[in-house]
């Protein structure tokens, strides 16, 4: 605790942006955006510092802890609630993801004019919650941040959204709160079952804290509760509608980071604390995840709205994440399990960046045309080559083309899945064909094909507005060519406390 509390500093970036924005008059929207940009950039830099300082050698070298840079301050001692921040390899990666999406989200809303101040206040709150979830090691704090992250979605969609925005916002909120309703008793039961002394995950994760019977009973609550936010089939309904209605940057945050909270919660709490329960349920949930992969792709094939396509592709891609997690849950660090885990976390990261890129491209076109119907477009690559190229890159990444980050993520998950649940793995791989099919459909209809003269006059992405997108593409390509940079970090956290309970 002598050193600089860098994790708290990251957590404080959105708070600082929030507070500073509070005192700026709403008229000075440029200043508000600037403040957010600066703090977002600061959080990116700090996240990178954390990444660099994170010691990945903890398994080889017994002196290094898995969780590093820990800050532990008692908060409500009577209830055993502590403010504990720490990172392991997984949260390092996801924290950086959140920071990047925050930054690009701010940049891509640079042209916003409607209620700028309120918008950025809510957005900062959301980002704050997400950072908190990724960094907390205390279950109570975790849940607190989780709710902080979820709730701003309602006003963000209902006020700044489009296309049945109130409906979508309400639907999203209800789904997510239903998930929380499952979650809360689960978390409370963890607290009481363990003796009501602490919410600290590290202590609760010790072997023998929970009996296998208890684990089997409670695990579904946690998995389903978090799964709702992760867009798990069949509780994914909120996600595409929410995507469609949300403004660009919110879509980016929503698909880019928010859905990751669910998967992260499953990993960090459900699987880590309840390994026996996880192993017991793994196959069932793996089947659901696989159905989600294929089902999402099929539904995406029928959509006519850009954002719906992306929304359902998210269902499909999050299915891959969940499949990887369940592979890990089934066998622990054993043969294929670590592949599944590494792949799942990598996919969380890659999907976050990729979806952000998708939405920023679609948002760019929508802002000018106020139309998102695929059938109304054609040959965009000739009309707005740069914007369409960004979309193409995201699409290729979504198809798992080598050279982009998600290729490795999917590869790892599928390798693990084929090893552990062979039939499911094969079906999931076959899902790639349908992924290709719906992506190609969008490409063929909107990006290629005869031009629609109506859109001949569209402005293309200029150098400044290309900046956030170039950042995203750069990240995708960087990790596409050098996956070890990220996999090493994830892996150092990956093969964890999962020895017991089998």
């Amino acid at each position: 605790m002598d050193e600089f509390p860098i994790l708290s500093a990251i957590l404080l970036c959105p708070v600082a942006a929030f507070v500073v924005t509070l005192v700026i008059p709403g008229r000075q929207s440029g200043l508000i955006k600037g403040v957010h940009g600066i703090f977002a950039l600061l959080s990116v830099v700090l996240s990178m510092v954390v990444w660099a300082r994170y010691d990945t050698g903890w398994r080889e070298n017994g002196d290094v802890d898995r969780f590093q840079m820990m800050e532990d301050v008692p908060w409500v001692p009577d209830l055993g609630i502590h403010y504990i921040l720490a990172v392991d390899g997984i949260s390092v990666v996801l924290t950086l993801l959140n920071a990047i999406v925050f930054l690009t989200g701010v940049l891509s809303m640079w042209t916003l004019t409607l209620r700028v101040k309120e918008y950025f206040l809510f957005m900062a709150a959301l980002v704050f919650g997400v950072f908190g979830v990724f960094l907390s090691l205390d279950i109570f704090m975790f849940f607190f941040f989780y709710e902080v992250a979820v709730l701003p979605m309602y006003p963000l969609i209902a006020v700044w959204g489009s296309t049945r925005k109130e409906y979508s916002a309400m639907k999203l909120t209800l789904f997510l709160l239903a998930g929380s309703a499952l979650l809360f008793p689960g978390l409370i039961s963890l607290y009481f079952e363990s003796g009501g002394q602490t919410w600290n995950m590290l202590i609760l994760a010790q072997e023998g804290t929970f009996t296998p019977k208890f684990q089997v009973f409670v695990y579904p609550f946690l998995y389903l509760g978090f799964g709702v936010l992760a867009g798990m089939f069949p509780f994914h309904g909120w996600s595409p509608t929410g995507h469609v209605a949300a403004p660009t940057a919110v879509s980016m945050l929503h698909a880019g980071v928010l859905m990751k909270l669910g998967a992260f919660g499953i990993l960090r709490i459900a699987i880590d604390l309840l390994p026996s329960g996880a192993a017991y349920w793994a196959e069932t949930f793996a089947i659901l995840a696989t159905i989600g992969i294929v089902y999402g792709a099929f539904v995406a094939m029928r959509q006519t709205d850009f954002k719906y396509v992306i929304g359902f592709s998210s269902v499909s891609h999050m299915g891959i994440v969940l499949l990887g997690l369940n592979v890990f849950a089934a066998v622990g660090a054993g043969d294929g399990g670590s592949d599944g885990l590494n792949g799942a976390v990598f996919q969380m990261f890659a999907h976050g960046i990729m979806t952000a890129l998708f939405f920023s491209s679609v948002g760019f076109i929508y802002d000018q045309t106020h139309d998102r119907d695929i059938r109304h477009f054609g040959g965009l690559i000739g009309q707005v080559p740069v914007a369409a190229s960004f979309f193409l890159v995201a699409g290729l990444c979504g198809m798992g083309v080598p050279g982009f980050a998600s290729f490795w993520a999917e590869l790892l998950v599928f390798v693990g899945a084929v090893k552990v649940f062979t039939p499911l793995g094969v079906i999931a791989i076959a899902g790639l064909v349908f992924t290709a099919a719906y992506m190609m459909r969008v490409f063929g209809k909107a990006m290629f094909g005869p031009k629609n003269p109506q859109w001949d006059g569209l402005d293309d992405v200029g150098p400044w507005s290309a900046l956030p997108r170039v950042v995203l593409v750069g990240v995708l390509v960087l990790f596409g060519f050098l996956p070890s940079v990220i996999v090493d970090v994830i892996r150092s956290a990956g093969v964890v406390s999962h020895s017991g309970g089998m």
């Binding site: 539904v299 094939m301 080598p402 064909v433 290709a436 996956p483």
Partner: protein, 625 residues
């Protein structure tokens, strides 16, 4: 320079070219083209040098590791990769130069060259790949690059559809490849190709796991090399610019599948059942595609069908157990088929039509001497008429079928006969047009692409490829008559070639000549009707022209099934999950309304109720305990 340097230059030159051409100089067409051609030259020179230098130890650098698996990016320099690499390098360079002329007037020239470089990089990296992962990565990238190239004229819906089809159909095969590679990795616990091959080299019967792996890998090959039942994408892929067809469908993309078979030849040899199935599929494909070529009039489509059929031949040779035969045909075919495509491109460039009858009627053959020369060299080679190269390689394949079932052998002869027949049909229709023929010109596949006589940039590669074809022919013929002790390609591969006697070759020669003669009487002879035998049987012709209705069947079964499932899923989504959620929400709201209606808004009633309830609760709790 050491061979490592060449190997690195070979791989990275196209990557650099791709980046510079596509990202930096996309709009400065000639700069982009120059960069890409320079990169192509480096790669071609390096590949030839390496090939001449003979096998060397693998060059590889640790790329990264995932888990306990170390992944290396490198260059495997054994005989198979060297030969294939040289073929790819040379042909790619020829086609890049040719594109200078063919694409001179295209507004997307810079982009085109960028894609070409991307394709070359992917293909070479695939060929030289020393481990399974690199193989798979670049196999996929080859698919991506071919998607970009086939769909290059993105404004043309048919081109986009073709690119889409190619990508998705090869992807179906890729599932098999992907699963197969994972299982292979699991079975052998190594990614290194050489170790895997050593592992399988000795064992003749690998048992069920090997069979499954081999079958899955073969699924990938079927997709990539356009074998039945995944062959339908290749004819459509002719929608791309002609240099693309020449590149993709002669030596590179489609040959990647055959190359993969050759690469894992030991593995396939250990899987007896799969090998037999592969042989049967290859033979069937060879015949099927030839029959389609017999009635086609689009020059590029004829060549496309013939590619499918010749790929079938190669796989037949490989599956029959002769690595040399299949590989030899792969090499010879690469050159003469590339040549033929370039020739076709030159005619299309000149006449603005793909229709061989229309091309013939314009009398193009008389003015375009170089092109016609190339057509005849390539055509004769394709038809398998001695003494050109196609004959030798095809003969090797037929000879390697020795132990196979007579049906397969008969099938091979039938395909060879049809090949000779449709090739000469094409040659005669182009070179000896019948002015009286009232054929309707087919619509041009490259619209507005009549740009006049081919320039040196187009004629040069045609000449070069003709010469290479002739050279290979001469070398093979020399080997045959004993002028050289060993067939050059066999020596590169380190495999024994099959030295057949003239008597053994007789049937093959006879069949090829028979096909040519039939074509001569129907199309070549003065005053011939220029109507094929098939054309006299309208039912059969319609069947063949519609490619056995396989496309239609797919459209009505598989595609319909997929769309059907998608539609059902969509219905389930909107009415089931979404609708269900909405119903729940509506019900909640409705019940809320009901409850709200009970509320009079009279505070006093509420307070009284609360007081009574509280009192009751207190009494209940108080008296319970």
């Amino acid at each position: 320079m050491s061979y490592e340097t060449w190997a690195l230059a070979l791989l990275f030159a196209p990557l650099l070219g791709f980046f510079l051409a596509l990202v930096v100089f996309r709009d400065r067409h000639n700069v982009a083209a120059a960069i890409v051609i320079a990169a192509g030259s480096v790669s071609a020179a390096a590949s030839i040098l390496l090939c001449v230098g003979g096998p060397q130890p693998t060059v590889s650098a640790r790329w990264f590791h995932i888990g306990d698996i170390t992944i290396a990016f490198g260059v495997l320099l054994d005989s198979r990769t060297l030969l294939m690499g040289a073929v790819v390098g040379v042909i790619t360079l020829c086609i890049q130069i040719y594109s200078l002329g063919y694409m001179a007037h295209d507004p997307g020239k810079g982009r085109f060259f960028g894609f070409l470089a991307l394709f070359e990089w992917a293909m070479l990296s695939f060929v030289y790949a020393p481990n399974l992962l690199q193989t798979f990565i670049f196999w996929e990238l080859v698919g991506l690059a071919s998607f970009l190239l086939i769909g290059f004229w993105y404004q043309k819906p048919s081109a986009v559809a073709a690119a889409k089809k190619a990508f998705i159909m090869t992807r179906i095969g890729d599932i098999g490849l992907f699963v197969g590679l994972i299982l292979l990795f699991r079975a052998t616990d190594t990614l290194d190709i050489e170790s895997i091959l050593t592992l399988y080299a000795g064992s003749s019967a690998g048992g069920a796991p090997t069979e499954i792996i081999a079958a899955l890998l073969f699924m990938g090959i079927v997709g990539k090399s356009a074998q039945f039942p995944l062959h339908t994408w290749l004819p459509d892929a002719m929608e791309g610019p002609t240099p693309v067809s020449a590149l993709l469908h002669s030596a590179t993309m489609v040959a990647a599948g055959v190359f993969l078979f050759a690469r894992f030849h030991e593995l396939f040899m250990a899987a007896e059942t799969t090998r037999m199935a592969a042989l049967a599929i290859a033979t069937f494909t060879a015949i099927l595609a030839s029959t389609m070529a017999v009635v086609a009039r689009d020059m590029k489509r004829i060549l496309a069908f013939s590619s499918i059929s010749q790929l079938g031949f190669m796989l037949m040779g490989l599956a029959a157990g002769s690595l040399f035969a299949g590989y030899f045909h792969l090499t010879t075919h690469a050159f003469f088929k590339a040549l033929l495509f370039l020739v076709a491109g030159a005619f299309i460039h000149r006449c603005g039509s793909n229709d061989i009858v229309a091309i013939g009627r314009q009398g193009a053959a008389r003015t375009m001497k170089v092109t016609t020369f190339g057509l005849i060299v390539g055509g004769v080679a394709l038809a398998g008429i001695p003494p050109l190269s196609g004959f030798f390689s095809k003969e090797q394949i037929i000879a390697s079928l020795g132990q196979a079932s007579p049906i397969i052998v008969a099938g091979a002869y039938a395909a060879a006969f049809l090949t000779a027949y449709y090739t000469f049909r094409m040659i005669f229709l182009v070179t000896r047009p019948d002015p009286e023929s009232a054929a309707q010109p087919a619509g041009p596949a490259d619209p507005d692409h009549a740009h006049g006589e081919p320039t040196w940039a187009m004629n040069g590669p045609i000449l070069l490829l003709s010469l290479i074809t002739l050279l290979i022919s001469a070398l093979s013929a020399g080997a045959l008559v004993g002028a050289m002790s060993e067939d050059p390609i066999a020596s590169i591969l380190g495999q024994a070639s099959h030295h057949a006697s003239i008597a053994e070759m007789a049937p093959a020669i006879a069949i090829a000549i028979l096909g040519a003669v039939l074509a001569f009487f129907e199309f070549g002879k003065k005053g011939a009707a220029q109507t094929g035998i098939v054309a006299r049987m309208p039912g059969l012709e319609r069947l063949l022209a519609n490619r056995w209705y396989i496309d239609a069947i797919y459209r009505h079964t598989l595609v319909a099934l997929a769309t059907g499932i998608a539609r059902v899923s969509h219905g389930v989504e909107t009415r089931g999950f979404d609708g269900g959620a909405d119903k729940v929400a509506d019900a909640t709201v409705a019940s809320g309304r009901q409850v709200a209606r009970r509320h009079s808004g009279r505070l006093q009633l509420y307070i009284g109720g609360a007081a009574i309830l509280f009192a009751l609760a207190v009494v209940f709790l108080g008296f319970r305990g």
